[in-house]
């Protein structure tokens, strides 16, 4: 039996229908802007993609590593401000700003994580939530970055791919967001199949047992937080280039930190595709409720989120995707 066990693949091949579904989904995503041609359809999908990336960032630190961060908006804001400040003040391309933002976010994650990740249980969540509002207050009062009125990304009509601004169509933004999501999800897919990924998941399930197996807990927690922060920062930079306006009230809001949590938990925390599924459900819900209910709809979407989360907790606490994953992941027992 050992021989037959050794002959198996470490990563079982998913069934054919999963492959077929994946290929169809990819084709649909690539062709989407030409099938649905309205600016609203493009806008909706760009938001879904950005949120899918943001939710995945939360999934890395919380879903895989078990540290509930409620401060993800910090890194979203840092990403947005890094590229915009560099471009508005020094004319540096947002591509460089993207990298700087990732680096600064990772450094911020170290600064926040080293003292707070020693806390067990819910204290890390509370600490990140409070640090998040602290950072927001700093940016609302910091004159050099526009204080409460924020910053505008200066309009630049020449060489749009260099300046990451597209004024005639949203389609380039769509493909940029799709590319960012593809890169981010591929990175997490690789992470999950690496030594580090195994260790993070072990740490999530039982830190004491993980430590007894030689895993340096504090270092791994901070590492997961850094990866998560860098991912969130990318979404921030792209968002800034998309809306061209930085408003610290919105960028650093706790709502962003919480929405990415809701999306991931809804879709399936600790799974690769759960965050994307959650984003694909919640973003349209929010946008359409705003259309149907007008200005008052802003709160309606939160009520709907609440109901959805309640249903998931009652009926499928591990998220919608867990129904599928479990079936794919566990193969038939070998006699």
């Amino acid at each position: 039996m050992l021989k037959s066990a050794l002959a198996e693949n470490l990563w079982p091949r998913p069934p054919l229908w999963v492959g077929a579904f994946g290929a169809a989904a990819l084709a649909l995503l690539l062709a989407y802007p030409f099938i649905f041609t309205t600016p609203f359809a493009h806008h909706l999908m760009i938001l879904i993609l950005l949120y899918a990336l943001m939710a995945q960032s939360w999934n890395v630190v919380a879903g895989f590593s078990g540290q509930i961060s409620l401060g993800q908006a910090i890194f979203f804001g840092i990403g947005a401000y890094s590229s915009t400040v560099l471009f508005a003040k020094y004319g540096i391309t947002p591509w460089a700003g993207l990298m700087v933002g990732m680096l600064l976010s990772a450094l911020a994650a170290v600064a926040i994580g080293v003292p707070t990740l020693r806390l067990r249980g819910h204290y890390f969540a509370i600490a990140t939530l409070l640090i998040g509002s602290g950072v927001q207050i700093v940016f609302q009062r910091w004159d050099w970055v526009g204080a409460a009125s924020g910053l505008y990304v200066p309009i630049e009509r020449a060489s749009p791919w260099f300046y990451l601004q597209f004024h005639t169509s949203k389609v380039p933004y769509y493909y940029l967001a799709l590319g960012a999501v593809a890169a981010g999800y591929f990175a997490v897919w690789k992470l999950r199949r690496s030594r580090l990924g195994f260790r993070l998941q072990a740490m999530r399930d039982d830190p004491d047992a993980a430590a007894s197996l030689g895993i340096a807990i504090a270092r791994h927690k901070v590492l997961a937080f850094m990866i998560s922060a860098a991912m969130m920062s990318v979404a921030g930079t792209f968002y800034a280039q998309y809306v061209l306006v930085l408003d610290p009230e919105r960028l650093f809001s706790a709502e962003i930190s919480i929405i990415v949590l809701l999306m991931t938990v809804l879709g399936g925390s600790g799974t690769l595709w759960g965050p994307a599924l959650g984003a694909a459900i919640l973003v349209p819900l929010s946008e359409y409720s705003r259309i149907w209910f007008g200005g008052t709809g802003r709160t309606i979407d939160l009520i709907l989120y609440g109901i959805l989360i309640l249903l998931v907790c009652m009926w499928r606490p591990s998220g919608i995707l867990s129904l599928l994953e479990e079936r794919i992941r566990r193969r038939a027992e070998i006699p």
Binding site: M1, L10, D206, D208, S212, L213, G214, I215, R330, R331
Partner: protein, 225 residues
Amino acid sequence: MSPLLDVQGLTKRFGGLTANANIAFDVNEGEIVGIIGPNDAGRALLDGRDITGLRPDRIGRLGLARTFQKLKPFVDLTVTENVMVGALAHTPVLKTAREQALESLAFVDLLDKRNHFARELSTGQRKRLELARALAMSPRLILMDEVTGGVDQRSVAGLVALVRELKQRGVTIVMIEHNMQVIMRLADRILALHAGRRIAFGAPDEVRSDAAVVDAYLGTIDHAA
């Protein structure tokens, strides 16, 4: 030959309570040393951290593996993945880790559950999983915290056989047990603790007939009368 593990003058206090005072014992390569003690405080002493004051992950990397009295499986990983985490302590290569994990699982007879999630296992199976996980680290010494505790009688025999087989493979073991039958059969030497003090250390027969041990465990005839 110097012992693999040499404990000297070990004292552990929890606040004002001295759990253990000035304990000394040694473990030779390939030996099974059992630790018995009527109180929980005495047993808590043998958390690796308390032995040397090092961080647990450092102790793990030094080649000291342990199983937990209160079982700690990685519930959302499969059985194979659980054991792979142990093997990954000394190899960065997933393929190697997986091979070693499967060998460990075959040894503890849990291979048929390899693709199950750990949360689906019974208590007896979880004990085996912990053993396999510790074993996959290729440790120099394994601390077993009540390996037969909390499982049904039928599983005890299997676990005892497993420990005996481990010893035959040359694995050094320190086991903390309250099942006297188990420890008398398995251990080469037994350390008896009472009220945080060492009252006997020697071969099972010696310890069993030691006056202080009998007194601590059974009470003297005077007390009984």
